[in-house]
Each structure stands twice: as structure tokens, then as C-alpha cells.
Amino acid sequence: MAERSTISSQRRKALFVLLTPITLLLGAFFLIPLGIMVVYSFLEPGLYGGVVWSFYPYNYGRIFGWPLGGGEEFEPLYIQIILNSLYYAALTVIVTLVVCYPVAFWVSRMGPLAKNIVLFAITLPFFANLLVRIYAWLLLLRPTGAVNTALLSLGIIDQPLNMIFTEFAVIVGLVYVLTPFMFLPIYASVERLDWSLVQASQDLGATPFQTFRRVILPLTAPGIAGGCVIVFIPALGNFIVPSFLGGSKVQMTGNVIERQFLQARNWPFGSTLAMIVMASVLLLVLAYTLWMRRAANNERLAGAGHV
């Protein structure tokens, strides 16, 4: 008994030592800036950027319509922009999912060498700066770019297509940037998939669709959900892609936030918008965690049922 308690106290000590650095790091570089943002979102904007230290709840009023005062007006515009960002983020999630899901199965069936090469190729873009890669898409999609030149010389089109600075270009850019984030979690769950269960389902006379829906999909669902969450979050806050490939005609919340800090010199309103993006992300992650916990509980119950 005494021995056991020593071991557990040692464990606790080890855990403490191991967790300290990351806690300090998150505390210093995440919680403090977050705190500054929360405080700023309730302050009055300074005339030339910065803040005036007086309580000012109207930044939220400008977005949601309440409370109002201090010369601020309610503008449904910002809710519209947030909804627009949600739409782009959701579309990005759907496209990356449709692309990555079948590919994950294909890659998981490859030989070890081919598999490693493919995985390396998927992580390769991270070696180059994001801006450079986005710029490359500009060169590809512009009227005199590679895609148009190829299509023109093949005689498929006789006028260059207007691809750059459109919604299409924004989706292409977001999908391109975020595909690895969707692929890796899905791949991890497909790799872990127990194929004997698939065989069992087939032996028991399930149609391919039934096997997919009742066996494969539930078993890979955690990977899908994880991928969706980590694609959705950066897509929602992105401002480089819409401003580079969308020609700033497509406006996402990230662009408005950037402008509040620079051109409009309204740091508190920028902080407020950033808080709202954060809040929507937080809700999403919360839903994901609750769902995962329920799934884990169900599994445990199912396991107990077998015994």
C-alpha cells in the first residue's frame, strides 16, 4: 500500500514536471494575449490607434445591435460578413473532405515505400512559406497564367477564363492550404481501421453501401470530425487567401479584423470581431469534445455488454 502511494506520488511529480513548460508557454503566449484582447474589446478606440482606458461596451453593440451608444450604430453587415466566412469555411471543409477521404483509403493500401513517399509529398508544402505558395496560385490562375495558356493552346477555350480574383480562386486557395490538415487525421483513422470487421460485415450479407455506412464510416468518424475541426478553424480566420486570390472583393472576417487594426485604427473593434471568431471556434471545439466523449462512452458500454 505504501509502495503504491510512492509510485503514484512519483507519477504525479513527473506529470507536474512534464506539464510545467507547456503550461507556462501557453500561459505566456496564449492566455495573456487573449486577456489583452478581451480587455481591449471593452475599451474605447484611441484616435490614432491604441485604446482609451474607459469602459465601452458598444463595440459588441455595433455587431449585435445591443447595447448601443457612443455614436455607434448597429450594422447587420458584420453578422453578414461572419456568416459569409462561415460559408467559405464550411465549403472548404466539404471540398477537402471529399478529396481526402477516398485518397486516405488508397494511400493506406499502398506498399510501405510508396506510402512514405506520398506522406512526405503531402507534408512537403510546409517547407515553403505560405505567401510564396499563394503567390504561385496567382501566377497559375491569372489570365496569362499556366492554366489559361494550356487550355488556350489545346483549343479548349478561345478566351482566357476569369479565374483569378473570384470566389472560385478563394476556395481553391483555402482547399490547397488546408488539405494536409484534413488528410492526416483521416489517414490516421483509416490506417487503424480493422479490416476484419469489414470482412465480417460482407460475410454477413451486407451490401457495399451498408458496410460503408454501418462499419467503415462509424470507425473513421473520429478522423473525419478531427479533420473537419482543424480545417474549419484556420479557414474561418484566414485573411491572406481572400485578399490575394479573391482580390479583396471577397471579404472574410479576418480581412475586416486586419483593416480595423491598420487602416481604420479601431483596435477595440478589431478585438471584438476577433473575440467573436474565437467564440464560434470555441463552440465548435466544445461540440466536438462532447461528441467524442459520448462516442467513447458508447464504446465502453458496448464493450461492457460483450462481457
Binding site: 491604441g50 455614436g71 450604430e73 450594422e75 480574383f165 472583393k249 471579404q251 491598420l262 487602416q263
Partner: protein, 345 residues
């Protein structure tokens, strides 16, 4: 009591030494816009006075102000736009340099003394100015542009080949000019007119964008709302490219060189300001920047393709139609809202 005085003096001397190195070593720290000074003149200054010069860059006035206000020390000279120079003088960030008493100041165009807080250039030295107009590719457009009307007519016929700046005041400024209003208006009704004008053009506009030189040069876009710096490229390919100040009028910018109150090397900073007053140095600088010149003697030394360029050295009747931005303080919000609505619709 003499010994006490000696100790005090020695102490003061020691403290001066301790605080000194940054000042005494012959250094000068510039904080300027990106690509807004000819590096050759920095080299020249550095050699002539044996001063080590460093150069940091910023891309907006607000960025520079935020950094200086946050207490960034170590910079000697900054290059604010005129309205920002006014703000900085008001905030007490700028040192009175008395540059107006230096030799060569008589060459500065009196018209360039635009700062309201500093009408006699006791503080800052006018540096360069330029109009914002239309930079275009003649070959692709198949026409020349003379006015904003030309630009928007072309865009209506060829949607997706024209860009405007991604700048709320510049772009709403076109809308104000087209409605015959001041670009510094604070009247929401005027700004509403400008918003409606730009919104009407938006479907025909390819993008709101700063970085357009490669797109115009490569022929991806036919025409862009752009700064006079585009003339540099026009002079390299005069047959294909063009830059024009639109007939209806346009906006202009001007930057002044200001010495900071916190400057560690005030003597060198003053030397550099006086160096910029030399006509041959100012001319060498402007030749690279293809900006408007505020130094009348330097204007005479410019290469003919710049001196005779109506965008760089416009005639008085065109100059009269150029408007410079003033700071709007809290009223900037009205513009920001209009701009957000333009972007969201």
C-alpha cells in the same frame, strides 16, 4: 568645495560616457517606407561623413506611429505623410530641427509646406510628393486613358480587367472626386454618394489591390488605380505602358522627413536632412523613386523623361486639381463603414 564640484563633473562626464556610445560612434537610424529612398544616396552620406546608417521600413503611417508611440527608441528620422506629421507634431513626438534655416532650404517649393502644424518647416523637411492616378497597359487596353470616366467606361465594356487600390480613403476618394466633393469631407451624405459610386463599379472591377505592377506589365490587367511610382516602369517600356493623372482630378500624397524627439543622433540627423537639401542628391533620389520633386533646383537636374513628364512635374492647372488627405480623426469611422459595405456587397 572645489573637490565636490570636480567629483560632480567627473560623475557627469562618466555618465555621459556610459550613455554615449550610441551617440558618439557616428550612427544614424532611419525609419522609412519600403523602397522610398535611393540606397546610393545613403551610401554617399555614409562615406562622406563616416556615419554608419541603418534603415528600417514600414508600410503604413499607423504602423510607424504605433511603434514610436509604444516607445520604440533608437530611430532618428521618420518619413510620415503630411497629415501624420501634423499628428506627430501635435503629440510632441517631433524635434524642432530648424531645417528652414539651413543652406539650400530656399530651393524648397513653398507650395510643399503643407503641414498645418508646421507651416514654416521649423520641424520637418518636405521630402517628396506624388499623384495617384491610372497606370495602364496600352497594348492590352488598345487605348489611352485620360480620365476616371475612361477607366470606368473601359471596365464596363471589359469586366475583370481593371483594379482599384485596396485603400478605403484612396478608393472612396475617387467616388468623392467623381461627385465633385472634397476627399476630406466629413459629411455622411457625401460619403454615401461616393459609396454608391464605387459600389456601382464593383461588378466590373477585378480586384482591390496594391500589388499590381506585375499584372499590368504582364498584360493580365489592363489598367489600375496606382501611385506615380508606376512611371518608373512606364519609362522602361513607354510604347506599352502609361500613367496619367485623370482629368477630373486626383489625390496626392506627400511625405516629410521628421527628426524624433527621442533621436539618439540628432546632429547626424540634421546633417542628413541638410544632405537631402542638396539639389544633386535630391535629384538622384527622385530619379530612382520617380516621384514629384519638392526641390526646385533639383527639378532642373532631373533627366528629361522625368522633368518633362506631366505626371511627375504637372502644369499648374493640373496641380490645382490634386487634393491631399487630411486626418479625419474619429470621422474616419464613417469611411470605414462605407468601405465595409462596399466590400460586403
Amino acid at each position: 568645495m572645489k573637490w565636490l564640484k570636480n567629483i560632480a563633473l567627473t560623475g557627469a562626464a562618466l555618465m555621459a560616457l556610459a550613455a554615449g556610445p550610441a551617440q558618439a560612434a557616428g550612427e544614424l537610424h532611419l525609419y522609412n517606407w519600403g523602397d522610398y529612398i535611393n540606397p546610393e544616396i545613403i551610401d554617399k552620406f555614409s562615406k562622406e561623413y563616416d556615419v554608419k546608417v541603418s534603415l528600417d521600413t514600414y508600410s503604413t503611417n499607423e504602423e510607424m506611429l504605433a511603434k514610436i508611440q509604444a516607445g520604440a527608441t533608437g530611430y532618428d528620422l521618420v518619413w510620415p505623410s503630411v497629415h501624420m506629421a501634423d499628428i506627430m507634431v501635435q503629440l510632441g513626438l517631433v524635434e524642432e530641427s530648424k531645417i528652414n534655416q539651413s543652406k539650400g532650404f530656399e530651393n524648397i517649393d513653398p507650395g510643399a509646406l503643407r503641414a498645418k502644424q508646421d507651416p514654416k518647416a521649423d520641424f520637418c523637411l518636405p521630402y517628396a510628393w506624388g499623384p495617384v492616378g491610372i497606370f495602364y497597359n496600352k497594348t492590352v487596353a488598345g487605348q489611352d486613358f485620360k480620365s476616371w470616366k475612361d477607366l470606368f467606361d473601359y471596365a464596363a465594356k471589359n469586366p475583370g480587367r481593371v483594379t482599384l487600390l485596396d485603400d478605403l480613403r484612396e478608393t472612396l476618394g475617387i467616388g468623392l472626386i467623381m461627385n465633385g466633393k472634397s476627399v476630406n469631407t466629413r459629411d455622411p451624405a457625401d460619403i454615401k454618394l461616393a459609396e454608391e459610386f464605387i459600389l456601382k463599379q464593383k461588378p466590373n472591377i477585378a480586384a482591390f489591390r496594391y500589388d499590381v505592377i506585375p499584372l499590368i506589365e504582364g498584360g493580365d490587367m489592363a489598367a489600375s488605380h496606382y501611385y506615380v511610382g508606376g512611371v518608373l516602369y512606364v519609362n522602361k517600356r513607354p510604347k506599352d505602358l502609361g500613367f496619367v493623372i485623370p482629368e477630373e482630378g486626383a489625390t496626392m500624397y506627400q511625405e516629410n522627413v521628421c527628426m524624433l524627439k527621442t533621436a539618439p543622433n540628432k546632429d547626424n540627423a540634421k546633417l542628413f536632412m541638410e544632405f537631402l537639401l542638396r539639389p544633386e542628391i535630391a535629384a538622384q533620389n527622385s530619379t530612382m523613386l520617380t516621384n514629384g520633386v519638392v526641390n526646385k533646383a533639383a527639378l532642373e537636374l532631373l533627366p528629361p523623361e522625368l522633368k518633362n513628364n506631366p505626371a511627375i512635374n504637372p502644369p499648374p492647372e493640373v496641380r490645382a486639381k490634386l487634393q491631399i488627405f487630411e486626418d479625419l480623426g474619429a470621422d474616419l469611422k464613417v469611411y470605414d463603414r462605407a468601405w465595409s459595405r462596399i466590400k460586403a456587397n
